[in-house]
C-alpha cells in the first residue's frame, strides 16, 4: 500500500501558489519602496530648500 496521501500534489500546488503570491507581494513592496524613495528624492531635489515636498 502507498503511504503517499492523494492530496499531496494538491497541497504542493497550493503552497507553490502561496509562495508565488507571497513573492509577488514582496517584489511589489520592494518595488514600491524604491519608487517612493526615488520619487521622494526627486521631490526633495525639486522642492525649495526647507519646504516639505508636496505628496498630497
Amino acid at each position: 500500500m502507498l503511504y503517499i496521501d492523494a492530496t499531496t500534489g494538491g497541497i504542493g500546488i497550493q503552497m507553490l501558489l502561496a509562495g508565488a503570491v507571497g513573492g509577488l507581494v514582496t517584489i511589489k513592496m520592494f518595488w514600491s519602496n524604491i519608487i517612493s524613495k526615488v520619487r521622494g528624492q526627486k521631490a526633495e531635489d525639486d522642492s525649495p530648500e526647507g519646504e516639505a515636498p508636496n505628496v498630497g
Binding site: T7, G10, G12
Partner: protein, 480 residues
C-alpha cells in the same frame, strides 16, 4: 417538508444509508420514506453555527443545497433512539439516487460547476467544503443539488483547500478525458470510485492540451508533485508530512483563484464530436410510418394515464420521446439508455421543461452493480427499484439478438425492474431486426411474439397485446 405524527412513525425503522459511514460527525438514515441526517455529540455546535450563519438557508432557497429542517426527539424518536445522536435534521427525499458513472457529460459538468459555486459562496461566508466529490451531488430532474451539508466546515485563515485533489480526480479529470480525448469516463469511474488520478490523465492528454496553463497546473504539476513524493519514498513522505504538519499558510485569494480557474476550465469543456446533433435530429428519422407512430404514442399515453404511476422507468429511452410523455403522466421518470450521447441529447431537450425527468446512462447488458465498501456503498440498478411502471420500447430485440439473452430471462429481469408497464416486441421480419441479423447467424428460433407473450404471462398479467398498424411490431400492456 411535511409532517406525519410521531406516533404514526414510531414504528418506523431508522436505517443507516449504506454509503454514509465515513464522516465521524454523523450520518444519514432512512426511516420509512423520510431522510434524516444526525450529528453526534461534539459535532453539533459546528452545524448549529452553520445553520445560524444563514449560508445554508440562502443556498437552499435557491435549490443549490438540499433543505435541512431541525427535528426534535418527538418528531423523529426512531433516529434519536439510534444512540450517540445529539442533533437531527430532515432533508427532502431524492426520488432516485444516481451516480456520476451514470451521468452524461453535461450532468457531470453541471455538478462540478455547482460544487465550485457553492465553495465560492461558502468561502465568502467563512466556510469551506472539506470534500468535493460528485457523490455529494444528486439531481432533481436535470437540476443538480448538493446534498452533503456535513461537508461544510469553518474556514480558518491560512488553511488549504484539502479537497482540491479530490475535485480534480472526480470532476476535472473525467471531464478532460471525454472532452479532450473523446473517451467516455463512465467505465473508468465505475471501475474507480475515487476518480482518475492526475498521473493517469496526464499520460493520456496530448502535449498541446497539457501545456495549456490551467491544465498544466491542475494536471501536470499535480502529477509531478505526486510522482516526486512517490519516488522520494520515505524521505519525501516525511518531508511532505512535515510540511503538512507545519500547516502551510495559504492565502484565501489562492483558493478563490483556484476556484475561478477551475470554473473557467470546466465551463470551456465541450462534448467532443458531432454525435449529439445526430441524436437531436433522430426524431425526424424514426423507423416508423406516421400512422404506426401515432398508434404507439396513443397506446403508451393511455397506458400511462390509466396507471398514473408515481415512479416510471423508461428502459432504452433513446432521446426521450416517451420519457417526456411519461414525465407528463407520472410523478417521476428515470430515462435510461446505454448511448451516452443520446442521454446527453435528452438532457438538453428536457432540462427546461421537465423537473421530474432524470436521464442516466445505463447499459442493460452490464448495468451498474453494487459497489464500494462491502459492495453496498453504491447500490446497483435493481436495488434502486422497482419502478411502478416501466416502458420497454424497441429494446427487447437488442437484448435478445445483440445480447443473446433468452426471452424468459429478459422478462425475469423486467419483472425486477418494474411492477407494470408497456413492452414492445419487434419481430424478426422488422427491418431493424433484419439489420441486426445481417452480421450474425440466426440462432434465435424462439424469438417470436408468441414465445414472448408466454414469457410475459409467467411473470406479469398481460392486460393487452396488440399489433401496431402497418407493422408487425406488438405492444403488450402488463401489470402485476
Amino acid at each position: 417538508m411535511t409532517g406525519g405524527t410521531a406516533a404514526a412513525r414510531s414504528g418506523a425503522d431508522a436505517k443507516l444509508v449504506a454509503g454514509s459511514f465515513r464522516d465521524p460527525s454523523g450520518g444519514v438514515v432512512l426511516s420509512g420514506d423520510r431522510v434524516y441526517r444526525f450529528f453526534r455529540p461534539g459535532h453539533t455546535s459546528d452545524f448549529s453555527n452553520l445553520l445560524d450563519s444563514g449560508l445554508l438557508t440562502s443556498l437552499a432557497d435557491r435549490s443549490l443545497v438540499v433543505d435541512s429542517q431541525v427535528v426534535s426527539r418527538d418528531q423523529a424518536p426512531e433516529v434519536y433512539a439510534l444512540g450517540d445522536v445529539e442533533l437531527v435534521v430532515e432533508h427532502p427525499r431524492i426520488t432516485f439516487v444516481s451516480y456520476p458513472y451514470e451521468w452524461p457529460f453535461e450532468m457531470l459538468k453541471a455538478a462540478a460547476l455547482l460544487t465550485l459555486d457553492i465553495l465560492e459562496e461558502a468561502l465568502a461566508a467563512g466556510y469551506i467544503l472539506k470534500d468535493a466529490t460528485p457523490f455529494n451531488v444528486q439531481f432533481n430532474g436535470c437540476a443538480p443539488i448538493f446534498i452533503d451539508v456535513a461537508s461544510f466546515e469553518k474556514y480558518e485563515e491560512g488553511m488549504p483547500w484539502m479537497a482540491y485533489s479530490q475535485f480534480c480526480r472526480t470532476f476535472l479529470n473525467p471531464l478532460l478525458l471525454q472532452s479532450v480525448r473523446g473517451q467516455p469516463y463512465h467505465p473508468w469511474l465505475r471501475g474507480s470510485l475515487d476518480g482518475i488520478s492526475p498521473e493517469a490523465i496526464s499520460a493520456l492528454l496530448p502535449l498541446r492540451s497539457k501545456l495549456r496553463p490551467s491544465i498544466l497546473m491542475d494536471v501536470g504539476l499535480q502529477a509531478w508533485f505526486n510522482q516526486r513524493a512517490r519516488k522520494g519514498g520515505d524521505k519525501q513522505t516525511s518531508k511532505a508530512q512535515a510540511a503538512q504538519r507545519k500547516e502551510p499558510r495559504i492565502p484565501k485569494a489562492v483558493i478563490t483563484g483556484m476556484v475561478n480557474r477551475l470554473r473557467r476550465t470546466i465551463s470551456g469543456l465541450k462534448r467532443p464530436g458531432a454525435r449529439l446533433s445526430v441524436w437531436l435530429d433522430y426524431e425526424e428519422h424514426l423507423p416508423y410510418e406516421r400512422e404506426a407512430l401515432e398508434f404507439k404514442d396513443r397506446f403508451v399515453s393511455e397506458a400511462l394515464e390509466a396507471a398514473a404511476p408515481a415512479k416510471t422507468w423508461d428502459l432504452g429511452c433513446n432521446t426521450g420521446r416517451f420519457s417526456m410523455m411519461a414525465a407528463e403522466r407520472s410523478g417521476h421518470v428515470v430515462a435510461m439508455d446505454f448511448d451516452e450521447a443520446a442521454v446527453g441529447a435528452l438532457y438538453h431537450r428536457s432540462r427546461e421543461n421537465y423537473t421530474n425527468l432524470l436521464p442516466i446512462v445505463m447499459d442493460f447488458m452490464n448495468p451498474s452493480p453494487n459497489m464500494g465498501w462491502e459492495q453496498i456503498e453504491r447500490p446497483g440498478l435493481i436495488e434502486r427499484g422497482p419502478a411502478d411502471f416501466g416502458l420497454c420500447l424497441a429494446l427487447v430485440h437488442h437484448l435478445a439478438i445483440s445480447g443473446n439473452v433468452p426471452l424468459d430471462r429478459i422478462v425475469a429481469w423486467l419483472s425486477k425492474c418494474t411492477r407494470a408497464g408497456v413492452v414492445e416486441f419487434v419481430p424478426k421480419a422488422d427491418p431493424m431486426v433484419q439489420t441486426l441479423l445481417k452480421t450474425r447467424k440466426d440462432v434465435y428460433p424462439d424469438y417470436t411474439p408468441e414465445v414472448f407473450h408466454r414469457a410475459l404471462e409467467s411473470r406479469f398479467r398481460v392486460d393487452e397485446a396488440i399489433q401496431i398498424p402497418n407493422s408487425e411490431r406488438v405492444l403488450f400492456r402488463v401489470s402485476a
